[in-house]
Symmetry: C2
Subunit: 385 residues, 2 copies
């Protein structure tokens, strides 16, 4: 016998919206099952008429048909079910749901009390713009690659990129601790090259080494990077964990901007009747987890996110989310110099263009300069400070 | 200009198999793109005829048609691309791949040199059986639930479960740090109850508290749990990170068995033309990441894994994987007392049955005893030591 409980609850509830690949009748049943699954995970008929039933079990707020085959359900959960922690928030929203067929999370509203526990991005759009000394324009980001180069090779590329006007240089997300360029040697060489080039040119380019290492090393590496003068951190939350990213963002002793990368997380967004909607994942959840920039493959590149998916990510980067700062949508994945004006037009000035391999086709310095010129010439962009 | 490189490589390569939702011609192109995407992520035509081309870029070993619409590609990668670290291994295998439509990873062969860097499960099937004092029989696992109960309520349930013969009691995966039962108070109450009941009954039941907390707290909580006498740890690698789980498993000062839970990871397996095959994810990858038990929703429960998917997970738990120990497939998700014989028959004695809410339908002690009797009566099971 489960004892009947009287519980102290705030009354604050979060609301998640799920698209269900079911007609309305079946969807009502499925929504009721989700409300139980994501909370008590227990036969609801064995719960007394008590506060577990009234407050802890998720509440189906609405179910409506949205097409001949699909329905949309809104389910609310008591803030207390999350314990105020990001991993459990994600667990309540979609943990076991991920195992159910035909369920896609497409919306999320968080109440003020819960949101107040999340600091979110430390810098956001305005703060990062200040750090790189940019005016009201898009930022230009690029990556050190390809894997196989030495630390000095990467440093030389970083030097050229600073001189050409890249605002943010990250490690390629595939650079980890390979023998070709061990993590610490590469990080130190690139950080030093960027510092020297900044001094020589008066620029404020940030270097963001990748922290995709062993769980034992992530925080030590972040500190080493900070001490070596790195200007930010590249984090892969699909591997490091969303709360690992949040912890790095929240660390006052680091106080570094975070670029979040979508590695492994494509599986959440790529199938229509499963997972989590693009903007919710790469916008809302990345912001909650402290990213200042969210990398994703833009439409028209070598991946296949649609224009709608990309627009949704950009919108979620900028939507009101308590007091959390807006962040930079950072489209990449096959961006070219030739496409820069179109891409800039699509994402606007509060974005960061991530251009990789294409910059190496011909002369790197010239290509960077052309790309930077495109960024500076964007309608609406104001001159750099 | 990317400099031509001469690199020292071992010649050891890992081999990943991908099912591609493309006919053979398109699949060859897609496979070649994956081989580049997962390694140098750089225009291949800009790489010299050097060791980056010869060794660092992935190598398409074969592409064959497997149906009118699908093909299967084997791509090998130099061990060095992983740096010997789990996060980068996963990144090479499926990081950006996850963002490509029509790609599902279905197979993996790791070379001995790379495998030697992974300790895998500390206990495995034989070790865990010794810890709980079981003979050659399946293990019986259950969960403390529902959310909303107090630490003392959970402790009382744990006490009954020990007396009835549950081998492993875990926190429900939704129990985190809710005000109803804050993490430390709940963990201490349950650990103490299990210890006392073990002393009273002579059993060796293990209590495994959930570590689904903030990244800041995970390792501290593991230590608190160890000190309080917890017999293992429940880890949700979809939230804590696969390497976070691996770190917990590898920690000699903890030396505790790990139960891995699939929360959030359903999105990787649930869609046919995307993600990672069930056995590869919940068997192979969980073993690499140190799980001694892998929880998944069994066929026929309230989720929808097929019999084939469940058989694949069980097979991957037991397949040769270097020197790594086999682990317990731990089917759950709506198991009932009535279905125990069939489930036991399907998974065999080297499995752990995870039975949850159904044990509370009627008398908990009697239901646990009946379930334990079913486990003991399984053909092939030998008496407990």
């Amino acid at each position: 016998m489960i004892p009947a409980k009287t519980l102290a609850v705030s009354g604050e509830r979060l609301r998640a919206t799920y698209d269900l690949a079911f007609t309305r009748g079946d969807a009502r049943e499925r929504a009721a099952a989700i409300a139980v699954e994501q909370t008590i995970e227990f036969p609801a008929d064995l719960i007394a008429d008590d506060d577990i039933r009234r407050h802890v079990i998720g509440r189906v707020e609405s179910v409506e048909a949205i097409s001949a085959t699909h329905s949309r359900a809104v389910i609310s959960y008591a803030s207390e079910t999350t314990g105020g922690e990001l991993p459990q928030l994600l667990n309540v929203l979609f943990g076991n749901c991920s195992l159910l067929p035909g369920v896609r999370m497409v919306g999320l509203e968080l109440p003020p009390g819960l949101l107040a526990g999340f600091r979110g991005p430390r810098f956001g759009v305005a703060g990062l713009r200040r750090l790189v000394g940019a005016g009201n324009r898009a930022l230009l980001a690029s990556a050190l690659k390809p894997m196989g180069l030495s630390p000095d090779d990467h440093a030389a590329i970083a030097d050229t990129m600073v001189r050409g006007g890249v605002d943010i240089i990250k490690d390629d997300h595939g650079l980890a601790n390979q023998p070709f360029a061990p993590w610490e040697a590469r990080m130190r060489a690139a950080a030093a090259a960027v510092r020297r080039a900044n001094e020589a040119t008066g620029r404020h380019t940030l270097y963001m080494p990748s922290l995709n290492g062993r769980a034992d090393d992530v925080f030590e590496r972040a500190r080493l990077a900070k001490d070596a003068g790195a200007g930010g951190l590249l984090v892969l939350p699909g591997l490091t964990g969303f709360d690992g990213m949040r912890r790095l963002a929240d660390d006052d002793s680091l106080s570094l901007p975070i670029m979040g990368h979508p590695s492994l997380l494509g599986s959440f967004v790529i199938s229509p009747d499963a997972g989590i909607e693009h903007g919710l994942m790469f916008g809302t959840i990345f912001r909650l987890a402290g990213a200042d920039m969210t990398v994703f493959p833009s439409y028209g590149g070598r991946f296949s996110f649609s224009r709608e998916a990309c627009a949704s990510i950009a919108a979620a980067c900028r939507a009101t989310l308590g007091d959390l700062a807006p962040i930079y949508p950072t489209p990449g994945g096959g961006m070219t110099v030739a496409r820069a004006p179109e891409i800039l037009d699509f994402y606007g000035v509060d974005a960061s263009l991530l251009v990789g391999g294409d910059l190496h086709r011909g002369d790197l310095l010239e290509n960077v300069q052309r790309m930077r010129a495109a960024v500076d010439a964007q309608p609406g962009a104001a001159a750099s400070s």
